[in-house]
Assembly symmetry: C2
Amino acid sequence: MTMLTRVKSAVTHFMGGMIATGANGDHLSGSDLPLKFPYMRPEFLGLSPDEIECSADHSARPILILKESKRLPWSTGYAEVINAGKSSLNEDQACCEVLTVKPKPPASGGGANRTPTSRRRSSLPNGEGLGLQESLEVCEGLTLHYWGLFDGHAGSGVAVAASRQLHGHIAQHLQEVLDILRLPGQPPPTCMGEEPLNHHYHPHHQHQQQQQHLTATGQRSLSRAASLRGAAGAPGTSGTPPPQTRFFTEKKVSHESLVVGALENAFKDMDVQIEKDKGVYNVSGGCTALAVLYLLGKLYVANAGDSRAVIIRSGEVIAMSTEFTPESERQRLQFLAYMHPHLLGNEFTHLEFARRVQKKEMGKRMLYRDFTMSGWAYKSIEEDDLKFPLIYGEGKKARVLATIGVTRGLGDHDLKVHDSNIYIKPFLSCCPEVKVYPLTLFDHGADDVLVLGTDGLWDVLSNQEVAEAVTGFLANCDPDDQHRYTMAAQDLVMRARGMLKDRSWRISGDRLGSGDDISVYLIPLMYGNTQT
Amino acid sequence: MTMLTRVKSAVTHFMGGMIATGANGDHLSGSDLPLKFPYMRPEFLGLSPDEIECSADHSARPILILKESKRLPWSTGYAEVINAGKSSLNEDQACCEVLTVKPKPPASGGGANRTPTSRRRSSLPNGEGLGLQESLEVCEGLTLHYWGLFDGHAGSGVAVAASRQLHGHIAQHLQEVLDILRLPGQPPPTCMGEEPLNHHYHPHHQHQQQQQHLTATGQRSLSRAASLRGAAGAPGTSGTPPPQTRFFTEKKVSHESLVVGALENAFKDMDVQIEKDKGVYNVSGGCTALAVLYLLGKLYVANAGDSRAVIIRSGEVIAMSTEFTPESERQRLQFLAYMHPHLLGNEFTHLEFARRVQKKEMGKRMLYRDFTMSGWAYKSIEEDDLKFPLIYGEGKKARVLATIGVTRGLGDHDLKVHDSNIYIKPFLSCCPEVKVYPLTLFDHGADDVLVLGTDGLWDVLSNQEVAEAVTGFLANCDPDDQHRYTMAAQDLVMRARGMLKDRSWRISGDRLGSGDDISVYLIPLMYGNTQT
């Protein structure tokens, strides 16, 4: 859970964080519409409806782990626990798949035929049970491993939808560049024919096409824009015909950046789909999204929200994501509000102050920051400064428009400031930051892992504490035990949840444990070298 | 020189970079108005008008250095050379001062009395010749060391103005927090009385005032914004009176961040002053600005543009600035254009393409990036994509609106896209990025230096090459020779300019030397420990 309306936050505060508030937030929109997807726990846990109900015990908070009979690709470990009562459901969601992206079938007409043809490689996500037929298909397609982690707020609908659908959007965007990705020796063509690439794509032909562009530019159209602006650095007094000897330089685009672009646009499409679905289904709330892709020897970590991905290699920590919060995105949000002040509905100011300004302080001078500043200065308090600040609160309590504590993610299209007509969505970005880790360039041992966790984990444990816990735990396991990563994930969740002591959850050092939903993946890295 | 209009760029290209174009760019605006400041070389060089004229030899390109009789604070070294002909004047400027910021005299009335009372500490910038009277003043004031480097374009006026005036704005903003900075043990007060602090400021009184705020918040005004929003996380159903037991948390603001804020706002004020002055004076063009402040044991490096600051410590390089160019600021600029498309005047598109789109490619698919993307994807080319891209070109040739190659700095208020009514200024930021180096926390040897250089230096020499050159040169000098830093600066400029060979400037490895203006400061760091 990453967001609290002021109301819920206050209630939680006064009740010691131990109350259940029913189908939390689902009343915010579309509650009369049919559900798009029923509430669920991650499919790979294979829980029965009864088990799901039992697990939602806010007092006992049982830690759910992957059964020994179920295996995820690369022997990935997984564990989760529900919150201490701030919402009746566990609003975290997770998904793990091995997908084969296959060439698009030749288009029958000419229209944009964008049905995803990616499909799961087998009925078991670990890829077992592949028949001959499927193996043959793999030769034509591209295999990718996918792990997704979603942290919902104000309802569970969007997190469930994203866990079911985001990888489909990713596969679709990868399909469009599939034939390029399968030829890593060839640079991606700058320009292609009208149809998305299909499997009749011929790189040689493409090359000829490019050459033609290079030589044809001298005779390019004299549209106003072209003749006025010319190429970079060109003389371009309008009316002067352009010289005939120029050619356009082309930027070198890597295969890697095509995968990054595919991930970025897949998040965008997922968000658009949620918006559309909210018109006809009950898809409640919003969620953060952390998606990991393994493709052609590289790990891609795409993060929109405040979950975190960390690689632990030989006990050392490598950050694979950054969190997007009102504090970390302050300047982007202030800049947007400064550019489009109507988004603040005359109720908020885009300025940040060191504390809330009071009316009686008019004319005094208070510490503030504008969107251009990382330092602080004093300004005389004016009428406008009495408005509530766009960003207010510190640390985990920081909020945008007094409402939401995370600034990137999916959904939230109908979220408004309480008792107002001010929408939050314009300030939220669905765009992930993507970091790339060249997995096969390193030799990884059995204890080298990628840890993915929702903020419930990282709120109470530092990177260093997680690294020490994982390294310590795995060192005591049989290296050949496939279940060791799930046991280590369980250990992490236990360390973050803590034990119930005098009605509160306590972790080591008598610190407060996390009362939030906590979900953790532990992905061993050595499998990247042996599997494709 | 960091900017070329398309016309000038093309001319320079065709003429091999060896032509002089007269009082370059000065015709762009205000040429009938009186000059605000006459053209000059840095004051500390102490050149006569004759010497200035002789130095502007675009063929011989003599390297100017600080005379042995002139000394800068900390024995700072300095050297410069004019360009190879792309503008008749050297558009780089530099300034170095030791300033004492003194308390503001008690205000006589109640108005905002913002005259700068900072003043130079002595007639020699190295601070020599202080009399008793001045020493006493120092006890009351705050001494700061200042180095400024400015790289002008489209005229020399703004660079000259900034070199004369920026430190005044900095001193003015520091003066406003002077009494706070002089009490490093006390945290800056969040709120202060109506007048800027003067020397009658009593921290104890201030403390009481703060306490009062804390206890008084329960009775705060019920203005609509306050009652509706409350404090962070507060329940706030409008109409419900706020609880009486809340207090406002205050953010902890460091002394350091007050200096950062002062620098940020000083750059803004300088830019506003230039805009105002352009109405009544001839202040041509624009400039980048790199300003270094030494204050209370810390170095503050404020950079707006594509100059660079680098610390060399024990031969290791520590970057103290980042460059702001169309490429490094692509997403900020695209976002702005997306938010305010009218700034593109229907002539440009905010999208980036891997190369220029041609009309005949309509309907085909080309690699592009939007403001949300760091990766690339394909999009079908539409009518709007035929417009010239907001950002075009690569590396040193990248331009915003086909006009300017640097995206932060001062001035340029009247700069337009050639033959159009599209202004460039909205896309430029005058706000510096400020990095802080805790100088006195380290022990520095005689060869540890801060290097400041305009892009003329860094275009042809890498950080590593500069570090090796400086370290190698200083190792061969007498450590007690105060002139060694100027000799090393001269060596750097020589290495970047190179030698004239068959009518072109060549540097080591038979590479092309820089045809740009080149200016270099070499600031030894060991003096920070011994002087205040």
